[in-house]
Each structure stands twice: as structure tokens, then as C-alpha cells.
Amino acid sequence: MTKTVTKQKASPPTSLPKCKTGIPGLDEITGGGLPKGRPTLVCGGAGCGKTLMGIEFLVRGAMLHNEPGVFLAFEETAEELAQNVRSLGFDLDELIEKKKLAVDYIYIERSEIEETGEYDLEGLFIRLGHAIDSIGAKRVVLDTLETLFSGLSNLAILRSELRRLFRWLKEKGVTSVITAERGEGSLTRHGLEEYVSDCVLLLDHRVEGQISTRRLRVVKYRGSAHATNEFPFLIDEGGVSVLPITSLQLQHKASIERVSSGVPALDAMLGGHGFFRGSSVLVSGTAGVGKTSLSCHAADACCQRNERCLYIAFEESEAQLLRNMRSIGLDLEPWVKKGLLRFQVARPTMNGLEMHLASIHKQVEAFQPHLVIVDPITSFLSTGTDTEASSMMVRLVDYLKSHQITALLTNLNHAGSVLEQTSVTISSLIDTWLLLRDIELNGERNRGLYILKSRGMAHSNQIREFLLTENGVQLTEVYLGPEGVLTGSARLSQEAKEKATAVQRSLEIESKRGELARRQQALEAQIAVLQLQFQTDKEEMERDIASEQAYLEKLEQSRHEMARSRKADSNGLPAPTKKGRK
């Protein structure tokens, strides 16, 4: 993985002076460029880009750093060379006209040559020296010096002359690039590395699974720290680029700004505000769980904020995506027309991984999006090995992070695979990981969403049911109860059941209340009757008491009267009255 590189270009003032190549990425991995005023050997097999790297070193030197250069071509004529690099946007003729570049084609044909004694390569020295002096060149490319070995047979002379040539180049103070063909078991076929020992770059062109990748490695760099890994590099319409090498650093800014996911309920689950800007979000799940729909929501939300979104799709065409999203009530077409949403649709196998990465880079550079969606990243697996795909993703995520671009990646999990695992093993890079999963229950399949992780925010630990409705993605609470987790119609029926039970209960309560009231009424009525009866009894009894008393009084009275009438002695009379005793 490219991430292990830690050597930086922070160089002490006494360190080797360097000459910037201007080739994107190469200066970073060499810690600032090639050794200034010294020769550098670029070796590699046929067709791996040695000549191109050499010519680009000169062209960029002339254009960016105002350092004229001499190209000594042993294999192609100046016209052929100009023609070959015109497709890369380099106009050699114009540079030659401006005296920024001199191309000298050296022709050696053994069949025309008779060796008649001792000789030296002074002719070459004079030509090179003349070319350097005529334009004040600071850079020299010799492509490919080894042709001399096939043209001249006296190896002893040749070797000593080459040694002299490199010494001479150093004395001239020009930064030179010497290309050489890769040999069997050695860096170069004729052992040029013996003479050029300051800096050696090795180019390689490998085809794996019908997809070719170019790689570059700094084999040796005397007196300087350098990256030691193999770096993929590209040759495209912009020339050579060793890209991206952002993973050399891990110093992203961390934004606290939050951006909506486009699904309010999901924002709520993510601590209420959605994703962090510039974070990497992974949506993983098996086929048909709604990864693309969720991505499109995020795209929609992005465009609603008046920000640009780059959607890299590997599975569906733009038209198909737009149509499908319309079915869930998401119309993305206005955003496309407004220029806020751009689709980049490609077959994954169309390019090698590095080409993909480079084209994403280019798109990002050109479009300056705020959100990049890659749907799905698993497609990269079809174009490379696991390690390559994961290294590429690391660099992509790194690149986007360093530019504060939110990355939304989808990952297709294959049925039966471990869900908490991405196919390209980038989980450790991911800040927010949403997992969409099927929940199979009672003969139906429903979607569930939960947040596996979300760095730096309080997030929900709940599973939500994920619904694709006519109004887009909606998240509902799943049924969590004594019966377990229920989704879909099971949830609905459970909810209905619960509702019915609740209604039943409330009815019962109602009737019990009625009963209570009735009972109270009955009781109160009874109390009233009893009170009435008591009242009646009381009155009756009082009446009785009164009449009894009256009777007693009457009796007394009549006894008195009787006594009076009998004129009886009061002695013989019981209970004499006061009157009688007198």
C-alpha cells in the first residue's frame, strides 16, 4: 500500500539541490525532483514510457521552469518524435523555434561503419556541447544511449567513453536523464547503472487480467530521501502523471460543518444534522436494498444546497438512473440541467484502475464538486486485484478528503458475505458507515437500515425500516416489542393488532366507568330510600311516643277526676297531689 510512505520533502538546507521535473507526482515521490546537475537513469522495458518521460522532463522544464533542454534521440528522428508527442499536447516545433528545445537525431548504422583503429566519442561530445551551448540548456535527455552498443563494437572504448560522458555532463552542470532498456537480471542491458549512480528510476508495464498498469519506482537516489514504493503512473492526453500521491500525507482538515443526507430521518439518526462535510460515507448492502436510491437522495440534497455533485456510476446509465429515481419521486433532471449534478458513467472494465482514478481526478479538478458519489466501489474489483482496488480506494478517499469533498461510496455485498466487511477492505477509512440489510421474516423481505459507525457524532443505534415510497426514501421505526423485531407487513399487522387491543381496552374502561357511575347512582338511590323510610319511621315513632305520653297524662287525669268524684281520702290514694295533701 502506498500509505506506508512517510519520507517527506522537508529537507535540510545542506541537502542535495534538486531539479523539478514538473511531472505531476514525480517531484513528490523523489522529494523535490531529480538531482540537479547530475545524471539520472530511467530504465524499463520496451513501451513503458521512458522516451515520453524524458521528453516531458524537457518540455515541462522549458515551459514551467524556464530551463531549456536538449534531446539527443538515438532511436527516432526529430520529426517522428514531434509527431509522437503532439498527441499529448506538446508542440516541440514551437519550443524549438523559441530556442527552448533542441532535438538532435543521432544515426548509427553498423553496416555502414568500418572500424579502422582507435577512436573516441568526441564527435558526440561536440554535438551535445554545441546543442547545449546554442540554447543555454540546463537539461539533457539521452534516449537511448545503448544504441551505441549496437553500432560500435569496441566495448572497451565505449565503456570508457561513457564514463567520460557522464563526468562531462556533471561538469557541464546539466541535469540529465539517460534512458536505458531493461536487461535480464539487471537494471539495464548494458550495465549503464554502473556509470549513472546518482538516481535510478525504474519503469514497469505489467498486464494483469488483461488490464495494463504502468508503475514507477525510485530504485536509488543517492544523498536524498525518497519514496521506495512502486507508484502507478499514467500516460494520457496530458502526458505522464504519477498520481495521486496524496496518501503520502495524513493531514486532512476536519470540518465541523454538517451536510444533510437528503433523508430527514437519517439526519436525525446521525446526531440530528447529517454527515460531516468532507467525510467519507459508505453505504453497503446486498443487491436491491436501496443503495443507489439513498445516494441519489444525498445528491439531491447536495444540489438543493446549491452545491455541485459528481455521480460516478458503473452500473446504470444516466438516463436509466434519472428514470428510476423519478419512480420514487426524486427528479434529478433539473439539477443536471442546472449544471449542479454531473454523471460520469463508465463500464468498470473500460479502464484500468489507475485510469479510473485519473479520470476521477480530472473530473474533480474540472468540476470542483462538493460531493462525489461512487456507485458502487465494488466494480473496481473487476478491474484489479483486491490489493490494487483497495490501494486505489485509499488514494481516492484520501484525495477527496484532502480537498474537503464529501465522498459517498456504495458497496455491494454479495449474498452470504459478512455484512460488516467491505469487499475492497476500506472500512477503516470510512467515517460514517450505513448498513442496509434485508430482513426476511414471515415470507417477505424488507429493508432495514442502521448506522454501523459514525465517527465524531452521537448516532442512533436503532435499526430503522427503510421504505422506498413514492415520496422517496423514508425511515420508520421498526416494531420492537416482546415479539421481537418486526418489519413490513408483520410490523403492520402487529401494529394493527395492538391498535385493536388498545381500542378494546378503552372500550372496556369506558364500560367500567359507566358501571361505576351506575352503581354509585344505585347506591345513592338506595341511601335516599332508606333515609326516607327512616324519616317515616322516625315520624311514626315520635307520633307513637307522643300519643303514649298523652295517654299516660290522660290516665292520670282521669284517676284524679275519679278520686275527686269519690271524695276519697287522700291517704288512701296513691300519689296524692299537692292539693290533696293540704
Binding site: G117, Y119, D120, G123, L124, I126, R127, H130
Partner: protein, 107 residues
């Protein structure tokens, strides 16, 4: 009278010993090696091509542009411009047999 190719060829073969040689010797400075080469080629020319050769000696240090124009890499280099085919002889011209063979003076 129109000559056929065969006739012209036969004529040239017959006149071979009469053909003029145009030679150019490129040297890098007047080093001992250069001097040696100049001396030797002059001697050879005088002995075998007397009266029918033209030898120019060019010092590349004085005319560096000539190195590019004449495609010179090695010094000293003797270029046989005429008769065709063009041949290059490199070195200090000590190997007389090879020179004579290359100049088609002897076979």
C-alpha cells in the same frame, strides 16, 4: 542514345578504376590521434587514388555544426561520399586492409 541499366552498369564497372573519390575526414582537434589519421589517409589516397580523389579535413571544434549535419558521433571519422554507397570509417586509420576493402580499391 538511350542506355539500358545493364549497359550503364557495365560501363561503370569498366570505368571503376577511373572513378573520382570524394572523401571527408572529421577530426576533433589536432590531437596525436587526429594527426595520425590525417597522415595515414593522405598516404593511402596518394598511393591508390592519386589524381582522382578529393579529401577535405574538417576540425569539429572549429565547425561544431558539421557534426550534426554529417551525423558524426565518433572521431576521427572518414566519410566516403562518393562513389556510392556511403561508407564511414572510424578510428585512427591504422587498419589499412579494411580501409582499402571499404573503399573498394581491393576486394
Amino acid at each position: 542514345m538511350r542506355q539500358t541499366t545493364t549497359e550503364s552498369f557495365e560501363k561503370r564497372v569498366a570505368n571503376h578504376s577511373q572513378e573520382r573519390y570524394v572523401l571527408c575526414l572529421y577530426v576533433a582537434g589536432l590531437t596525436p590521434r587526429s594527426t595520425l589519421a590525417i597522415e595515414r589517409i593522405r598516404a593511402i589516397c596518394e598511393r591508390y587514388l592519386s589524381g582522382r580523389y578529393e579529401l577535405t579535413v574538417i576540425d569539429l571544434y572549429l565547425q561544431p555544426e558539421m557534426a550534426r549535419l554529417a551525423q558524426i558521433v565518433v572521431a576521427p571519422t572518414l566519410v566516403k561520399q562518393s562513389p556510392s554507397p556511403k561508407r564511414l570509417f572510424i578510428g585512427d586509420m591504422t587498419d589499412e586492409t579494411r580501409i582499402l576493402q571499404g573503399l573498394q580499391i581491393v576486394s
